[in-house]
Amino acid sequence: MDLFEYQGKELLRKFEIPVPEGRVATTPEEAAEAAKGLGGRVVVKAQVQIGGRGKAGGIKLAESPEEAREAADKIIGMTISNEQDPKGQLVKRVLVERAGDIREEYYVSFAIDRSARKFVGIMSAQGGMSIEEVAEKDPAAVSKVHIDPLLGFSDYHARKLVYGAKLDPEARKEAIAILPKLYRAFVELDASLVEVNPLVLMGEGRVVALDAKVSLDDSAAYRHPNFDELKSVHEVPEQERFAKERGLNFIKLDGDVGIIGNGAGLVMSTLDVVKAAGGDPANFLDVGGGAGAELLSSALEVITSNAEVKSVLVNIFGGITRCDLVAEGIIDALGRLDVQVPIVVRLDGTNAEQGRKMLADAPHPKLIPADTMLGAAEKAVALAHTKEG
């Protein structure tokens, strides 16, 4: 789960990492109230999980509560997008923070380095932009340490990062003190990423986390009692929520060929062969291992609830999953739902013959059997492109 900035900052504060004083507001009135409470100049920041919100006008300075109200009025309700996410995100809330005098901006993060099988700490004196960009333009400006998860963070790691990144001498002492706290937060929160960009040196010499990007490991939710509460503010689209409640792993995409498969790799591969056949997948949907009839039926319900879907491809290779149960689920869905789009079904593996026979014995105008994965993809794509009626 990727947290909103204000959530990340609340967590960092618990680890005694300095963050600006601030309050969350969901209306312009609340923003004005927050600005009044904080006093003086404030900054109003859109709470979205998307880069480039400053450029998009999602961050505004306000000298008074009235200005904070105006800023929040403009920001709440706007949609912020960037190259990676052209559809963008709707702003539902803002963070109103006490503004300070920023002298320098730095970058710092802790993450898991998959290939090194270690944790990695990264620091740069060029904050406020993406670290990939800095690493590309000026690799010498990036300082990096690998941390053995069994030994943990040593003081020299902090010195290596701070001196290596050539932070302003005035910022060094505080930055060196902040790093072990940030590392502790990373480990104890079961985070996959803790990124502060920028970490700033303020006019009066303090070092403060001005932004926070914290991603938590969903698999570790069971040992974090606050996980559900943090998650509750994250809105999930209706179709995704429906899928999740039924134990389906679903990701919406932009095409018109609905996809159902078992196993992440096989589903990814199915999307690829559909694309190669000239089609555009409408989604990723993995029913997982050992899916029964009910789950398959729900999966078809999720897929066909998307009006953009013109055809559906069900690609199952039964291992623990039994193809007879898959067939039962498909037959159930066809009886239960008003299915208007063709459903191409390819079954192989455990009890495949039985499953195929069940489908053959229950003919339905929208049900189209296929023998192979590639053949099924071609059929589904051709059907999506056929104008009906």
Partner: protein, 292 residues
């Protein structure tokens, strides 16, 4: 020969008394795997279909000579179970369990790799491995496999079945099929398994099935060009996966511009490794190499 599991495998299953554990271990036993023990704390002294249950892995090893373990316990107990097997002297540990916290594996995996003993952890979040005709440890359906010259290593389960199925349909069998799992920090990566296939006289061709996320395929490509003399055919799932979305597996995510299928395919091709366009083409390419 084959790698990691064979006729000498004596299997202990951690979590044998659970529903999933007993079902799959039962299938492994039916396949011919020598299932010697189960471990469930508090249930020692009992049995599951005649297989004795012990409270600790150490007891199971002492009394049955188990040399391979399969972990089927829930995620929150799984890294502990892996460490217990290691402590009991087991050298091949297969963790099927999904959704183990990444922090747990970030500690467990380097610990095992630093051990003085040569220990292999397969998984977690994996289908296990099978040496057709010899032993099956995990959830790969034995009936789709057949003994033969292809060593297969994959981050995916059902995609592996698809490729094995395509091979078997062409009359091409497998030495060992290893599912290394879809987690960001797997116990064994491609290189660990490639090294074993290279040393295995029964393996003539290697099929490597990767997917988006991380750089294990890129590193494997470099390793292959320096260390592997046997022909390798590769396939990467996720060409059409959008960035920033976790595609089912915890490790299958394109972060920024890193971990794309295109980058992996390019690295493999640059190392002279043919990259198949789809699962069917993997089998076709292998058939061509074997002249079938």
């Amino acid at each position: 020969m084959a790698i990691l599991v064979d006729d000498s495998t004596k299997l202990v299953v951690q979590g044998l008394t659970g529903r999933e554990g007993s079902f799959h271990a039962g299938r492994n036993k039916d396949y011919g795997t020598d299932l010697v023990a189960g471990v469930t704390p508090g249930k020692g002294g009992g049995d599951v279909d005649g297989v004795p249950i012990f409270d600790t892995v150490t007891e199971a090893v002492e009394q049955t000579g188990a040399n391979t373990s399969m972990v089927f316990v829930p995620a929150r107990f799984a890294s502990d179970a892996v460490l217990e097997s290691f402590d009991a002297g087991i050298d091949v540990i297969v963790a099927i369990t999904e959704n183990i916290p990444a922090m747990d594996m970030a500690r467990t995996v380097p610990y095992l790799h630093a051990a003085e003993r040569d220990v292999t952890l397969i998984g977690p979040n994996c289908p296990g491995l099978i040496s057709p005709g010899k032993a099956n440890v995990g959830i790969i359906p034995g009936e789709i496999c057949s003994p033969g010259p292809v060593g297969l290593v994959s981050r995916s389960g059902t995609l592996t079945y698809q490729i094995v199925h395509e091979l078997t349909q062409r009359g091409i069998g497998q030495s060992t099929c290893v599912g290394i799992g879809g987690d960001p920090i797997p116990g064994s990566n491609f290189i660990d398994i490639l090294e074993k296939f290279e040393a295995d006289p029964e393996t003539e061709v290697i099929a490597m099935v990767g997917e988006i996320g991380g750089d294990a395929e890129e590193r494997a490509a470099a390793y292959i060009s320096d260390n592997v003399s046997k022909p390798v055919v590769a396939y990467i799932a996720g060409r059409t996966a959008p960035p920033g979305k976790r595609m089912g597996h915890a490790g299958a995510i394109i972060s920024g511009s890193k971990g794309t299928a295109a980058a992996k395919e390019e690295a493999l091709r640059a190392a002279g490794i043919p990259v198949a366009a789809n699962p069917t083409a993997v089998a076709e390419e292998v058939a061509k190499i074997l002249d079938r």
